[in-house]
């Protein structure tokens, strides 16, 4: 974790960048909004004063509730709420036992079912893009697959604008014309580092903010290519970008829910590729959370991220460290909490269930170590006595189940493991996928009128 003084220094460096270097906003309407509120406009670059940033921070809420399909599915995003986990988001490929390929609608159905069945993942990531569905129908068919296949929240694609339109229309079908009376939508607006917001991202941000929907502006700056190779400079660029997004959001609608996002990492200095398994990524994740919290905002950061292309030792180690960093620092939303391979590029169902298990274990590890008469168990120790066994104590019997957790990890002794086929975790996870899909059934909570409207809009 970064020291408080260093956090403040990075924050100040970001404010200087916004004021002196500026932030490039490629959407004309967004530029106009900045300019109308006193930002200096220099071509498409807006220069933001510390005052403008301060005013935005003053109106942004420290937390909010995103309405779910039913009240018990509401999700709280806030500094005092437990973290919310999202599945793999918008990977371009699927990797499974047959290798790497482009996603199909069947893969989307699998991904939806696995999230629906997950004990930990509450939000679907932005969907895979099924290549066996025509481009014209794709966004609608994907939304349909999600809404029919799961009652959990779904992060939606907001670029291009047609995909956002489709998502808004589906909300209207599900919840009526005043669906946006509450925060409902999950989405990610990515900056284009360094210090730039694309026209489509700017349009989506303004649209969401007008509707009072949560805006998550996230940077994925790449140290050495799109941001400095030094972590402090990289964080200052990321912080500046997210704060600029915050200012725009709050100018459009003061008080609009905002999530501070960042998954910045470093580039390979040999190929330029983004590395999500680099050792720099983990402290960057912690610092991202610290910087967001420093300005009083809930944070989206981290994930079960890896540069590995298979569910192997590398994937497990990198994913565990990426998740642990975000959990330790106290992130509010961890997208990509399960299922990612190839540095964001690929989705793996087996990796999803392996990560889900990992997440379960990390959540156990995160539990506070409670110190009380009951947990100190002095009487049980005294009763067992020096050299005795605790197995015979009632206290042990009462707490035995505290130590039992669902897991995919092997805890069998060697010969049992050998007799069971010597499977490594990738094989076990692949079998678990089949098992989960066998047990899965879609929710049946949509009334027939809604379902008909949905079918008509999405499938015709």
């Amino acid at each position: 974790m970064v020291g408080a003084e260093e956090v403040q220094q990075i924050h100040e460096a970001a404010l200087r960048l916004l004021d002196e270097v500026g932030f490039s906003v490629l959407d004309a309407e967004a530029q106009g909004i900045f300019a109308a509120h006193g930002a200096r406009l220099d071509d498409h670059r807006v220069h933001l004063s510390a005052e403008l940033v301060g005013e935005a921070l003053a109106t942004a809420p420290a937390g909010y509730t995103v309405a779910g399909r039913r009240p018990e599915l509401d999700l709280h995003v806030g500094l005092d709420a437990p973290p919310v986990f999202g599945g793999a988001s918008s990977p371009a490929f699927v990797i499974d036992t047959s290798g790497r390929r482009q996603p199909t609608l069947d893969d989307v159905r699998t991904a939806v079912a696995l999230v629906q069945m997950s004990p930990n993942i509450a939000v679907h990531g932005v969907s895979l893009s099924p290549q066996d569905v025509s481009v014209e129908r794709r966004a609608r068919v994907v939304l349909h697959t999600h809404v029919v296949g799961s009652d959990k929240a779904c992060a939606v694609s907001v670029t291009p604008p047609s995909e956002l339109e489709a998502a808004l229309r589906v909300e209207e079908i599900l919840y009526g014309s005043d669906w946006h009376a509450h925060p409902r939508l999950w989405s990610i607006i990515n900056t284009t580092s360094p210090l730039q917001l694309s026209a489509e991202a700017g349009q989506a941000l303004v649209r969401l903010a007008r509707l009072g929907q949560p805006v998550c502006v996230a940077a994925c700056a790449m140290g050495g290519t799109t941001a400095p190779a030094t972590l402090a400079g990289l964080l200052a660029v990321q912080h500046a970008e997210v704060l600029a997004g915050l200012v725009l959001t709050q100018l459009v609608r003061p008080g609009c829910p905002f999530l501070y996002g960042g998954t910045s990492s470093v580039s390979s200095m040999r190929s330029g590729a983004l590395l999500m398994g680099a050792p720099e990524y983990w402290p960057l994740t912690e610092a991202t959370v610290q910087l967001g919290h420093h300005v009083g905002l809930p944070v989206r950061a981290g994930g079960a991220l890896t540069d590995a292309h298979a569910v192997d030792y590398q994937a497990g180690a990198e994913s565990a460290l990426g998740l642990a960093a975000a959990l330790r620092a106290g992130a509010q939303f961890i997208l990509h909490a399960a299922g990612i391979l190839s540095s964001f590029n690929a989705y793996s169902p087996a990796k999803f269930v392996a990560d889900d298990g990992l997440l379960g274990a990390l959540l156990v590890a995160q539990r506070p170590l409670v110190v009380s008469d009951e947990t100190l168990a002095r009487d049980a120790v005294a009763a067992a006595g020096p050299g005795g066994t605790l197995l015979t104590q009632a206290h042990t019997r009462q707490h035995a189940r505290d130590l039992e957790h669902p897991t995919l990890m092997n805890h069998e002794p060697y010969e049992t493991w050998h007799a069971l086929g010597r499977h490594d975790l990738a094989v076990v996870a692949t079998e678990r996928v089949t098992d989960i899909l066998d047990r899965y059934s879609p929710p049946d909570d949509l009334d027939s009128v809604t379902r008909r409207q949905l079918d008509r809009y999405c499938l015709t």
């Binding site: 490629l26 482009q102 730039q196 050495g224 290519t225 799109t226 390979s268 040999r270 330029g272 590029n345």
Partner: protein
């Protein structure tokens, strides 16, 4: 004497000093050296060394990119004289590169451009978010051997296909080899849209480019 300045020219590229390279190019011309000698005996030696060092893992990307920038700065100074020279300049090939319409990601494309420059290609980088029309216009104007189309988003990949189709419609497809790249693209996609070449990273891109223009 001349050997001294040639060595300095090569060194300016190895050091990635663009201003120094431009100044040395101007100085060489003032001394009456031929522009092709300045290139071949000076700067090209430097960029070859940069390429070697990168290939051996001793140089990293910033050194490669800055070497290519220095080379570009020198060529810009020499350009008017090179154009006058009857010999012309030997290049591995002429390439145009850009990220397709709707996509403002360009770091990968920029790296490919640098590596191609280092490998002796004359590269025109059109930047990000390049419309189909601009690609067509530039192919007509510059008559490149290679056109490189980059896309980082699944939503912009179709614009690689549209650009290739537009080349066909304009009757230009046979004049230029097309390479595509970008994180969501694949060799299968390249085949599907009728691209001539595909590469998964910048190093592979140079090999593919050389093969396509018959430089190897």
């Amino acid at each position: 004497m001349a050997d001294d300045i040639y060595a300095k020219m090569a060194q300016s590229v190895i050091d990635g000093e663009a201003e120094e390279a431009a100044a040395l190019a101007a100085e060489g011309l003032r001394q009456g050296l031929s522009p092709t000698d300045i290139l071949d005996k000076g700067f090209v030696k430097g960029i070859e060394e940069v390429g070697d060092l990168f290939g051996r893992g001793e140089f990293f990307l910033p050194e490669l990119v800055q070497g290519a920038e220095a080379m570009k700065a020198a060529v810009a100074v020499l350009r008017p004289e090179l154009d006058k020279s009857a010999e012309g300049r030997k290049v591995a090939g002429k390439a145009i590169a850009g990220t397709v319409a709707g996509d403002i990601h360009e770091i990968g494309k920029t790296i490919v451009c640098s590596m191609l420059s280092a490998a002796g290609f004359e590269v025109t980088d059109l930047g990000p978010d390049v419309s189909v029309e601009t690609f067509i216009e530039k192919v007509k104007e510059l008559k490149p051997d290679l056109l490189l189309l980059s896309a980082l988003l699944t939503t912009t990949m179709p614009n690689q296909q549209k650009t290739i189709q537009a080349l066909k419609d304009a009757g230009l497809r046979e004049q230029v080899k097309v390479m595509i790249g970008g994180a969501p693209t694949t060799r299968a996609w390249a085949d599907e849209i009728g691209a001539d070449g595909y590469a998964e990273d910048a190093i592979e891109a140079v090999a593919a480019a050389k093969q396509l223009v018959g430089a190897e």
